[in-house]
Symmetry: C2
Subunit: 417 residues, 2 copies
């Protein structure tokens, strides 16, 4: 029997009406003869309501108790969806993360899944039941409730699919697939029929908010066939593949951006072994998410190190870095919290070295100054002042032929170089 | 170390402000050197909000999923209270019923506690932590979430106190103790310093809504010292004792009433074996709660059977009984849904037979007709038309000296007889 794991996010289950719509969709899949595990998020708004309560009690609330609190959000949804399925004559059974059981480490609020004991779920599937699982949550070895962090329901779905060796994992969301760029910024953006895991990873980590990065990593690692599709309209969505198809790849698959960035630079760091670890040790201990790290070659025995952080972690990063600067006898620390990151992603660029040059030329032609550059094998990221974000994304979308009309000449040029 | 289990109901934790007030109260108890386990209900209004959601999805929602849903209410409270304690520098740790673990049977919505594995809680207490436990919930053998039914948090508290052999179980509520009668009806009603478990049971089942009956039974069975007190003001509350003190007992301890009653009479039932079971079989199958049952001696080979039900179950009781009447060839069925029940309760009446007579005289003097009478060893209940309820309660309160001034003559008379 075809086994699908389906995941519905907060907007898709945001009201009783929408929960009923999800139940209808599941009923249809059952009529197709599919066996189903359904992973759901908290109803839209519910997590924020709970966070507000916690903030009122203690703005620095303990992470363990935050997890106890916010995990109730998904628990409400699994109960309501199971009720809606029962009403449609479908035998369904709800499970919290702890009940499944989804075993995680003990990093509250950002836990990672270690293991899934799917025996109970398998028994239910054999009894022809739909299994409804609370996303985003698990338990640690001591039975404490943990959460995987925001967006973690995607990870739950992929991990369940891997544990059950499901035939497909479908992530239902409020968009109908992965686009060449954010359609709110680029009206010409097109839905991709498929994309590789690597490309998806680069896009997701750059702020293409369709899928949580970790869930894509999981899908890649365990070879889970992953499909992103809309819970509001029918359509094939985008399939995330594990290998590029034999056909020639497009030069780039998509453009991602992230507006809420900041950059921090520690200047005049004495160039000696261990400096980097003394800079990033405290940052890591504080669990700040750093992304791009740039260190230029040393001049006069000192070097400058720049890295980017989420904008809301900027003040903490600055304060940590100022302390480190004193300890290292570095000259000073400067920062800027008006940074936006833009990345072009594509497995096609592996074999075409002209892509970077074309990206820089396109931005230069628009008068956009590039503040940071960082590259990987299938991605080129740049940091620009956030006021240029929309302009930059639109210009790049056009330059790389993603509009569909194509600027043949430019493309040919890039491919040839 | 003195170990207290404290329970705070929905009103006491109904807002962030009130949760902070509870945390302050716990901080004070800690300063007295007490070791504490705190059992909490869902914030006032939360359970109804969840029930409304369920009703929208399916008015006949599965009991298993209802429990998954409503148990989130207490889970929110334990997290918030633990946060509030941490903010006060108190090491606290929250547990759901399943985490404790409170093992119940599998009757969803009305589960009974079978066993409590308090090892984890004991370890926390040894580490000088305050343990915060979700009331009203547990898990069955298969790990399914169960709830004890409304008001079940009291039971959780008493059961935890029994399992931990606590020195005292304190039920904090919105009244400052058990009263001789409902102060809304009798302004002269007085708070009782103590009352026996038996008296409390009779009062609770008659509608003195201070404590859930099952929790008092539990306290009696496991000899848990139980105290009812207000979470809004300081005061000693009422201690529920396991044996009457050596001092002479008051004649009666309190007066309870229940306004929402109805009576149903099946008349002219052929007086033959099996008649009662054929009358009450269908009633029991329909899960109607019957209370008083009165059957007079037979006359002319037939008898009349009367019983009382909650007013909202009156139509169903009438319809069931009409069917039974036909099957039994009974004459007819009559009913009245304007009944109120009033009971006087006191272990003192065991040795004083004049109490019933005094009750009847008092009501007669006010011109109140008694429609039904039922007695137990420590209680006398009567049914009267509900329009007389306030008058009857006030007259009895005065007659039995509960006003505090005492009508010495009457009391002496009753005790002598």
């Amino acid at each position: 029997m075809f086994l699908a794991v389906e995941k519905y996010g907060g907007t898709s289950v945001g009201s009783v009406e929408r929960i009923n719509a999800v139940a209808d969709r599941i009923a249809t899949a059952r009529q197709r003869g599919e066996s189903l595990v359904v992973v759901v998020s908290a109803m839209a708004g519910e997590t924020n309501r709970l966070l507000d309560l916690a903030t009122k009690v203690d703005p620095d609330a303990l992470a363990r108790e935050m997890d106890v609190l916010v995990s109730t959000g998904e628990q409400v949804t699994i109960a309501l969806l199971s009720m809606a399925l029962h009403k449609r004559g479908i035998d369904a059974r709800s499970y919290t993360g702890g009940q499944v059981r989804i075993l995680t480490d003990s990093i509250h609020g950002k836990a990672r899944i270690r293991d899934i004991d799917a025996a109970r779920v398998r028994t239910d599937l054999e009894l022809n039941r739909v299994v409804v699982v609370a996303g985003f949550q698990g338990v640690d070895d001591d039975g404490n409730i943990t959460t995987l962090g925001r967006g973690g329901s995607d990870t739950t779905a992929v991990a369940m699919a891997a544990a059950l060796e499901a035939d497909e994992c479908r992530i239902f969301t409020d968009v109908d697939g992965v686009y060449t760029a954010d359609p709110r910024i680029v009206p010409e953006a097109r839905r991709l029929d498929q994309i590789t895991v690597e490309e998806m990873l680069e896009l997701a980590s750059q702020g293409a908010k369709v899928l949580q990065t970790r869930s894509v990593e999981f899908a890649g690692k365990y070879h889970v066939p992953l499909r992103v599709l809309s819970s509001f309209e029918d359509g094939p969505g985008t399939l995330i593949t594990h290998e590029a198809s034999d056909m020639e790849q497009p030069l780039i698959s998509g453009i991602a951006y992230n507006r809420d960035e900041a950059k921090v630079t520690i200047r005049g760091v004495p160039d000696q072994p261990g400096a980097a670890s003394r800079i990033f040790g405290p940052i890591s201990k504080a669990h700040l998410n750093i992304d791009m790290i740039i260190q230029n070659v040393a001049q006069d025995g000192t070097t400058d190190v720049t890295f980017t952080v989420n904008r809301d972690e900027y003040p903490e990063a600055m304060s940590l870095l100022n302390k480190t600067a004193k300890e290292l006898n570095a000259r000073d620390v400067v920062g800027d919290d008006t940074l936006a990151k833009i990345a072009i992603v594509g497995v096609g660029m592996r074999s075409h070295s002209g892509v970077a040059a074309m990206m820089f030329e396109t931005l230069a032609a628009e008068g956009i100054n590039i503040e940071l550059i960082s590259t990987s094998e299938i991605k080129i990221s740049v940091g620009v002042n956030d006021k240029y974000l929309e302009l930059a994304v639109r210009a790049l979308h056009k330059a790389f032929g993603l509009d569909g009309e194509g600027t043949e000449e430019q493309l040919a040029e890039a491919k040839d170089s």
